[in-house]
Structure formats: structure tokens, C-alpha cells
């Protein structure tokens, strides 16, 4: 296979692997949503993934796969392929890959269903392209209905929306109910408060009527008027003591007029002619209290009412304060007790901590003492060792002093003087040598000069000798006897010059040797 083709195939396989993995993931997701795990199905899906993976690995390794490639099989990416296959027909009939189904999907009984050895298609032939089975009841007889698709179990957005709406509605209803209950309770409380106020006002009115001896035009009316029904017991109502503290007016008035009230039960017993009838016959409804028409009366009434209200409120406040104070007192007492307990516990703990600290301190002190003693001992030992060392050093020093005191004591004056004299001698010697050398040099120069002079003289003598020779030759030619005498005189002069020179050189040598002997270290 060509390289390009291999690459293409590899790419295809990679894509297929990814698709199959995704499809397998979808399958797992569906199982998770339905909460029904089918390991067999998972194993099959995994096998398909593994198949592609193996082929891809082989291709990467360079082995050309033999047989039909998995890429040639047209599997959908939905993960609905390769459901239970084989002779046992699929239950869902959601197969797509294995069959080539016309795109129209209009399969009806008229069309011949695709021939397949793998599946038994139902006789109704109502398969669509998507192979979604009809939901009608026609499907029950031939084969079991397919499982509900995953999407059905998973609520759609619309369903969720509806559900949310329903939930919200329910919440709203509950809230409304709670609010209604609360309002009812509040109304009851208000009613109780109003009743209490009214009662207080009536009492006040009765009191003022007694103290001022005002002639009451209809004295029985206020008392005979139906007493407002007691407020229903409420948790939030003012304490019962508020109304209990002023119970005097109404009962007293009733005592005065026993025939008018229901409570005249005892007084009914006192009057024999009424007997038990008073109980049986309900009292006639009291005529309504005439509304005051005079503005002053109205104002007075309002003032009374407000006063009564204020009084009630004050009493209620007092009572609540009292109860609050009691509650607070008990709470404070409890708190104090708790605090005391806590304090005791804390004190106990502190005592324990102090004891442990003391114990620790004692231990630490003992340890410190021990360490101090050990330290002292070690210090004393160290001092002793140091002293021994010092003693040894001192002994060594004494010994050394005995052995070589002069060396150790610095330069000796005698030696120094000796050294100085030696140095002076040496310097003097050097100086004399230099002087001698200078002299010798001067002498040498003189000798050289003399030698040069002697040489000059020798040359002159030679010259003269040569001249004389020439003269002699000339004279020899003239006379043979005179020649001999010339030669002898020439030899004699030569001999004298050489002797002089030899004497000069000898003297010079003697001078040099003398200079050397006088300066043995000189150069």
C-alpha cells in the first residue's frame, strides 16, 4: 500500500476509533441514565472499540492489516450499531448499519423489506428509515416492544420547565397558606388587644362614675351590655396579668345588679323567685350604648379610650417587664451558675497546671543544680588541666633557660662589639683593598704608558737599526771591516732594549702580585 494511502487509512481509523469510543460512551451514558447496566452489551461495544484500536496499532506498527478493514464497515456514530446480532433477532430493531435501507424510510407492507439473514423483521413492515418502532399497539403481538429510548427517560427541557413551573406553583401556594395563617394569627392578636383595651376603658368609665358620683342616667347599661368575649388564647397576646390586675369593676357592678348578668348564678340562687330560670333564659340583648353627640362628650370618650389604652399598654409592658425581668434574672442566675462552674473548672485546671508547672520547675531546678555541679566539676578539671599545662610549660621554659640562656636572651654586647669590630675591619680591609686596587690601576696605567714608550723606543731603535743596517750595507759595499762593527753595535742596542723591557715587565708583575697579597678578599 502506498504511504499516502496508509496515512489516510490511519487517519480514518483514528477517527473511527474516536467515534466508536464516543458511541460506547453514549451507550454507558444511556445505561447510567436508565440505571440498568448490561455488562454483556458493554463488553460487545468495547470489543468493537478494541477491534479498531488493534487495527490502528497494527497499522502504526507497520503491519498491513489483512482482511476487511473496520473502516470499510459503515457504522453510524450514534452508538446504536452492533446491538445484539446474530440469529437471535434484535429486540429494539434499531439496526442501521447492517442494512441498506432506502433513504425515504417509507417502508410499508407494500415494500419488500431488505433481505437479511440476521434479523427477523416483523410482518407489519412498518419500519422507518430510522428503525424507530411505532408506538402503536400493533407491536405487542409480534415482538416485544423496544425499550424506551434514553431520551425518553431523560426529561426534556420542556418537561423540566413544566415540572419547575409546577414546583413553583406549589411553593407559591404553600407560601400563601403560610401568609394567611400568619395574618389570621395577627388578626386574633389585634382582636385580643382591642378587647383588652375596651375592657380597660369600661373599667375606667365605671371608676370615674363611682368617684365623681356622677348621676348615671342609665347605670345598668354599661354593665348590662354584653361583655366582649374573651380573646382567644394567643401565644403572642399580652400576658394575662395585664387584664387580671383590674378585675374589680365589672364583677363589683355585677354583684350590685345580680339580675342582669349571666354571672348572676349565685345571686339567682339567693332570690328564690328566680331560681334556676335565670340560667335557662338567656339575657336579653342590651340596647346599644347611645353614641354621644356632644363634641365634648366625644372628646372625653376618646380621651378615656386613649387613656385606657395607654394604661393597658403600660400594664402589659409592666407585666412583660416583670416576666422579662424574672426570665432575665433566671437566665442571669443560670449564666452565673454556669460561669461559676466554668470558673471552678478553670480554677481546677489552673491549679492542676500550677502543680504541674511547679513539679516541672522543681525538676528543672534539680536538673539545673546537677548540671551546675557537673559544670563546676568540669570547670575545675579544666582549670586543673590548664594549671598542669602551665606548670609543664614553665618547667620546659626553665629547662630551656638553663640550656641556652645566651641564645634565648637576645644579642650579647661582647659579641655585638666583636661583630662590629669585625665589620669595621672588613670595611677597612675593603677600603684598603680598593685603595690598593686604585693604586695598582694607576701603576698599571703607568707601566702601560712606560711599555708603550719602550715599544716606541724599540721601534725607534729598530728603525734606527734598519737605517744603520742600510747605512752599513752601503758602507759594506764600501768597506767590509766597517760593516762588522755596525752589526755588533746594532745587536748590542737591541739586546739592551729587550733587557729593559724585561725588567719593566718583571717590575710590573711584582707590583700586581703585591697588590693581590695585600687584599685577599678584594677583586
Amino acid at each position: 500500500m502506498r504511504k499516502g494511502a496508509l496515512k489516510k487509512k490511519q487517519k480514518q481509523l483514528e477517527e473511527l476509533l474516536l467515534d466508536r469510543r464516543e458511541a460506547l460512551g453514549e451507550l454507558v451514558l444511556g445505561m447510567y441514565v436508565q440505571n440498568s447496566w448490561d455488562d454483556d452489551l458493554l463488553a460487545r461495544g468495547s470489543a468493537e472499540v478494541a477491534e479498531v484500536e488493534t487495527e490502528l496499532n497494527e497499522l502504526i506498527a507497520g503491519n498491513e492489516p489483512s482482511g476487511p478493514s473496520t473502516t470499510e464497515k459503515d457504522f453510524p456514530v450514534t452508538g446504536e450499531h452492533r446491538l445484539p446480532s446474530g440469529p437471535d433477532a434484535p429486540e429494539t430493531s434499531e439496526y442501521t448499519a447492517e442494512h441498506s435501507v432506502p433513504a425515504s424510510g417509507e417502508y410499508t407492507a407494500e415494500h419488500s423489506l431488505p433481505e437479511s439473514t440476521e434479523h427477523d423483521y416483523p410482518e407489519t413492515g412498518e419500519y422507518t428509515a430510522e428503525h424507530s418502532l411505532p408506538e402503536s399497539a400493533e407491536y405487542t403481538a409480534e415482538q416485544p416492544l423496544p425499550d424506551a429510548p434514553i431520551e425518553q427517560t431523560k426529561p426534556s427541557r420542556a418537561e423540566r420547565k413544566l415540572e419547575k413551573k409546577r414546583r413553583k406553583e406549589e411553593e407559591r401556594r404553600q407560601k400563601e397558606e403560610a401568609e394567611a395563617r400568619e395574618a389570621k394569627q395577627r388578626a386574633a392578636e389585634a382582636e385580643a388587644a382591642r378587647a383588652a383595651a375596651r375592657k380597660a376603658a369600661e373599667e375606667k368609665a365605671a371608676e370615674t362614675g363611682d368617684t365623681e358620683n356622677k348621676p348615671d342616667p342609665v347605670p345598668a347599661e354599661p354593665n348590662s351590655s354584653p361583655v366582649p368575649a374573651p380573646a382567644p388564647p394567643s401565644a403572642t397576646a399580652p400576658t394575662p396579668s395585664a387584664t387580671a390586675s383590674v378585675p374589680s369593676a365589672v364583677p363589683r357592678a355585677e354583684d350590685d345588679r345580680p339580675s342582669t348578668g349571666i354571672t348572676g348564678d349565685a345571686s339567682g340562687g339567693d332570690s328564690p323567685e328566680r331560681g334556676g330560670k335565670a340560667i335557662d333564659v338567656p339575657p336579653p340583648p342590651a340596647p346599644p350604648k347611645p353614641e354621644p353627640t356632644d363634641p365634648l362628650d366625644v372628646l372625653e370618650k376618646q380621651l378615656d379610650e386613649s387613656e385606657a389604652r395607654a394604661k393597658t399598654a403600660i400594664e402589659a409592658a409592666k407585666a412583660s417587664l416583670k416576666t422579662d425581668t424574672q426570665t432575665e434574672l433566671s437566665a442571669i442566675t443560670r449564666e452565673v451558675e454556669t460561669g461559676r462552674n466554668d470558673l471552678d473548672e478553670a480554677l481546677k485546671k489552673a491549679a492542676a497546671a500550677i502543680a504541674s508547672a511547679e513539679e516541672k520547675a522543681a525538676k528543672a531546678e534539680a536538673k539545673l543544680l546537677r548540671e551546675t555541679a557537673a559544670g563546676r566539676e568540669s570547670a575545675a578539671e579544666w582549670v586543673r588541666s590548664q594549671a598542669a599545662e602551665i606548670e609543664a610549660d614553665a618547667a620546659l621554659a626553665a629547662e630551656m633557660t638553663r640550656d641556652g640562656a645566651p641564645e634565648s636572651e637576645g644579642p650579647d654586647p661582647v659579641t655585638a662589639a666583636r661583630v662590629a669590630s669585625l665589620e669595621a675591619e672588613l670595611a677597612a680591609e675593603k677600603a684598603s683593598k680598593e685603595e690598593a686596587l686604585t693604586k695598582a690601576a694607576a701603576r698599571l696605567q703607568e707601566i702601560e704608558r712606560n711599555a708603550k714608550l719602550a715599544e716606541a723606543r724599540v721601534e725607534a731603535a729598530e728603525h734606527a737599526a734598519a737605517e744603520a743596517k742600510a747605512k752599513a750595507e752601503i758602507s759594506a759595499r764600501s768597506s767590509s771591516t766597517s760593516a762588522a762593527t755596525d752589526k755588533a753595535s746594532e745587536a748590542e742596542s737591541r739586546e739592551a732594549a729587550v733587557n729593559w723591557l724585561r725588567g719593566q715587565i718583571t717590575a710590573l708583575r711584582q707590583e700586581i702580585s703585591k697588590g693581590d697579597s695585600t687584599d685577599p678578599g678584594g677583586k
Binding site: L18, R20, R21, E22, A23, L24, G25, E26, L27, V28, L29, M31, Y32, V33, W37, D39, L42, A43, G45, S46, A47, V49, A50, E53, K154, R157, R160, K161, K164, R167
Partner: protein, 98 residues
């Protein structure tokens, strides 16, 4: 608001939502592939750890939920704030139902 505006949603929000939806789709595919891979590995061992598979599947479900929410936001033209409120309400109701 523009003439063709969709509720209180701005164009930027809409774009952001679309982008996020794309991201979620991509994430979903990746997670599904991972789930498939894990399943394959389990199959090779010969034992399926349902708890682990459920964990991974739950993540995909979460992504699906979020995608649904974003899609709803796009459909109904909700603002990001509204979407957030919706998500919170959903969470609260979910926790309450739990």
C-alpha cells in the same frame, strides 16, 4: 434595546453563550470518548466498575444540563444574570428534591 433584540440579552451575551455551547459540545465529546476508553479498559480487564462509569457519566449529564440551560437561554433570549438565577434556582430545587 435594538429592534431585533431578544429580550434583555445583548449580542455579546448571545455570542458568549454560543461559544460556551460550542465548548460544552466539545467537552461532551471528549468526556464521552474518555468514558468509552475507560469502558474499553475495563472490558480488557474483564470487569466493569459501574461506580466509576457512573461518575464519569454523571459528568456528561452535568454537561448536558448546562448545555440545555444555555440553549434555553439562547432560545428565550435570557441574560447571563437571568441564566445564572435560573441555574441557581435549578440547583436549589435539585438539592431540595434530594
Amino acid at each position: 434595546m435594538g429592534l431585533f433584540g431578544r429580550g434583555g440579552q445583548s449580542g455579546r451575551e448571545r455570542r458568549a453563550m454560543r461559544d460556551h455551547l460550542d465548548e460544552l459540545d466539545e467537552m461532551r465529546r471528549t468526556r464521552l470518548a474518555e468514558l468509552g476508553k475507560t469502558t474499553g479498559e475495563m472490558a480488557s480487564v474483564g470487569k466493569f466498575d459501574h461506580a466509576r462509569l457512573s461518575e464519569q457519566a454523571a459528568e456528561v449529564v452535568k454537561i448536558d444540563r448546562e448545555a440545555d440551560l444555555i440553549a434555553r437561554g439562547l432560545e428565550e433570549g435570557l441574560t447571563l444574570q437571568e441564566l445564572e438565577d435560573l441555574a441557581r434556582a435549578g440547583e436549589e430545587s435539585g438539592s431540595r428534591s434530594r
